[in-house]
């Protein structure tokens, strides 16, 4: 088991050593001098240690589709570009695309992704190999008989992975209320409760979804989900752009988690999440990047800046979307939402962390570290990343990165000719 000693690193303005043992922060104190056989020593000089990012809504393998179609109307984009290309993706493509996405995530300080996509066995395999945490889901989506059968079989295989890895959580992923019939949603809700699954679903993303829900069910999407028993502390609601006051109360009262996706919401013009109303109500807000087709990167650093600035714009105040609030939803809130005992640099917590290069120009001047992380930094400031007590990136080098890039380029080239 890896033992790691990070020397002379800045934590909350002080210089400390950080000892990691058995996957947890064992000791955090100035000048740890004890005997540390077999420990990997990391020089933390001119670096700050911070909790890393937990990306609570993404579609990792869509990185293979990055830049394929932009600046389109939503349904034109989906029907004429994204879906036809997605239909060509094989399980091996999803593996390659997931590796590309996880490489990008690690390089920008992310150690966890809540992923929703096809062929999630491959995404789980990629995550495990790369040492990143992932929550993948059994897919529920009304589609062609062939795809339904494929998902059914994949779900059975996926469920066998449950509890097998400390990095991989198996969830239930009904896609959305407009793609999954009521009867199936009910079955999923029962399965969720009986077998104690976590669940994620797109919710209240577009005005059309809300409108159709009112037409069909005479209530809002959030109320509809609640009526089906789908809102619990283990529910992660992606987007939540169009919330009524009662929706916010229901989300707060049920303890459901919001995965806020400011970049995607702005790029697809889905609308604006009521950040402060939800924050003040006491909802559990987390942050996600969505997939690389509607963003188009998976950098939580970008996402934080957009979260802060879009809140300021929405509430017509520069005091909205404060740096500390935004950093919190991107880090510890995400870990908590998925019951990962991490997200804080504290003795006893699971050792997830990133080291930030304080000599990077984006970090100077240095009056406030968190302001620099939210408003100034890009991925070039992330020097090293640790997940579950293992070093995933050291001095910006990730294991196998050249091979991951090579495979991804080959795969994209082949996709163009299919």
């Amino acid at each position: 088991m890896a033992k790691i000693l990070i020397k002379n690193v800045e934590l909350n303005g002080e210089i400390v050593d950080v000892l990691i043992e058995n996957k947890r922060f064992k000791k955090i104190a100035p000048k740890i001098l004890e005997n540390i056989d077999n420990a990997q020593i990391i020089d933390g000089t001119d670096k700050a240690i911070l909790p890393p990012f937990y990306n609570t809504h993404t579609h990792a393998a869509m990185s293979l589709l990055r830049s394929y179609a932009d600046d389109k109307e939503l349904f034109d984009w989906l029907q004429n570009y994204i879906w036809p290309l997605e239909a060509k993706l094989t399980p091996q493509d999803v593996y390659i695309g997931s590796r590309l996405a996880f490489l990008e995530m690690i390089k920008s300080g992310t150690v966890f992704a809540c992923d929703m996509y096809w062929h999630q066995l491959e995404t789980a395999r990629a995550a495990e190999e790369m040492g990143i945490r992932v929550a993948v889901g059994e897919m529920f989506l009304q589609s062609t008989p062939e795809l339904n059968e494929m998902n059914r079989k994949n779900n059975i295989e996926l469920e066998k992975l449950r509890g097998k890895s400390e990095l991989v959580e198996i969830m239930l992923d009904p896609h959305a209320i407009y793609t999954v019939p009521k009867e199936i949603l009910k079955t999923v809700a029962e399965k969720m409760k009986k077998e104690d699954f976590r669940l994620t679903i797109h919710a209240s993303e577009t005005p059309l979804e809300v409108e159709n829900c009112f037409t069909e069910h005479h209530i809002s999407p959030i109320a509809y989900l609640e009526s089906l028993g789908l809102l619990t502390e283990k529910t992660v609601l992606a987007h939540c752009v169009h919330l009524f006051d009662d929706d916010i109360k229901v989300i707060r009262d049920t303890g459901a988690v919001i995965a806020h996706n400011p970049v995607s919401n702005m790029k697809l013009n889905s609308g604006r999440f009521r950040f402060h109303d939800c924050l003040e109500a006491g909802c559990n807000i987390t942050l996600g990047t969505d997939g690389a087709c509607s963003n188009n990167n998976l950098s939580m650093l970008d996402e934080m800046k957009f979260a802060a600035l879009s809140a300021k714009s929405q509430y017509s105040s520069p005091t909205a979307g404060k740096d500390v609030d935004v950093f919190k939803i991107a880090t510890v809130n995400g870990a908590k939402a998925f019951d990962i005992d991490a997200g804080e640099i504290k003795e006893g917590k699971l050792a997830d962390a990133m080291l930030i290069d304080l000599n990077n120009h984006f970090m100077i001047a240095d009056y406030k570290l968190i302001s620099n992380m939210v408003y100034s930094a890009d991925s070039s400031v992330v020097d090293s990343v640790i997940c579950n007590g293992e070093v995933l990136m050291l001095n910006r080098k990730v294991r196998d990165e050249d091979e991951i890039i090579r495979e991804a380029k080959k795969c994209c080239a082949s996709l163009k000719n299919r």
Copy 2:
């Protein structure tokens, strides 16, 4: 004089060699085999050559104040934080801060900055040393007698630099209509015309500015500037957030240049620039980052993403703020606005360029290079930067960068104790 041969680089989807001689692109063609004595050879394999960025509104030395105060109301922010700290800045501080800013710019692909600040002699010196293009200005601002006298003297010194350097342009910089009295603005307008100066000014940035202008002059800020003879093809209007239809016509008809600052406008909640109305009217739109206090970085990559997404949000359409339009305002439009014969990778043009690492994860998949630049890339994709035929960054290394960082950190530490 440096001769540079870039081998095997991608330009508009083809692989070419690029020969730079006498500061210009001399030849661009596949496999240039001619004798190239004393040429610096740059391997362009797996890289794309693109025009670099021209940042048309910034306050470089404010990088020393990055993260000092955020999430505040505008006047609280200015009066209680920014102005008191700025008052402590010496000419040497401005030199150090400008070097820090130019380092950040080069590292993110920018070769030009239109800068407005105090002690611009120091900013000009820093730019010349680092090889970056800059337009600095004689400052006009109604302030204390001491500051007015300091500006007057500095302006005389600055004017002596006129025409002395091909990298440094001396402009006139009246700060804004609310900080410069009418009589001085008139004098500046006359000087501009008689001596063929370029001029930049903050214009229509906040609702308060517009309101006060109507109260005092009974016309909009843009109409007021026109009435004083301040709108010409050599006028660069920073922000232009609150434009009336007639303002847009006047800007188009006079040929004045707009410096759009989407991040700053969103962070300070100044309002939203009418991107498409100005684009469709045929205005000359360029892009600027503003200073590191209201952004908080100087990355034109960040700025492009915000320009695109804020246009989509403003016009309630994902087809607004298209990648190609946004890339154009960030590159060639900026060069044109300042009569720099660059901004395109073309034989005969001045050799300003950046090399993009196509093996960087942000650039894969690679269906559309410009989409990846606008929506996905961060500074880590910029491998090399060339300005005026000189290499400013090669494989992410900038000359003297360690020293620039060290000096900046020392300066920030001393500022905290003044």
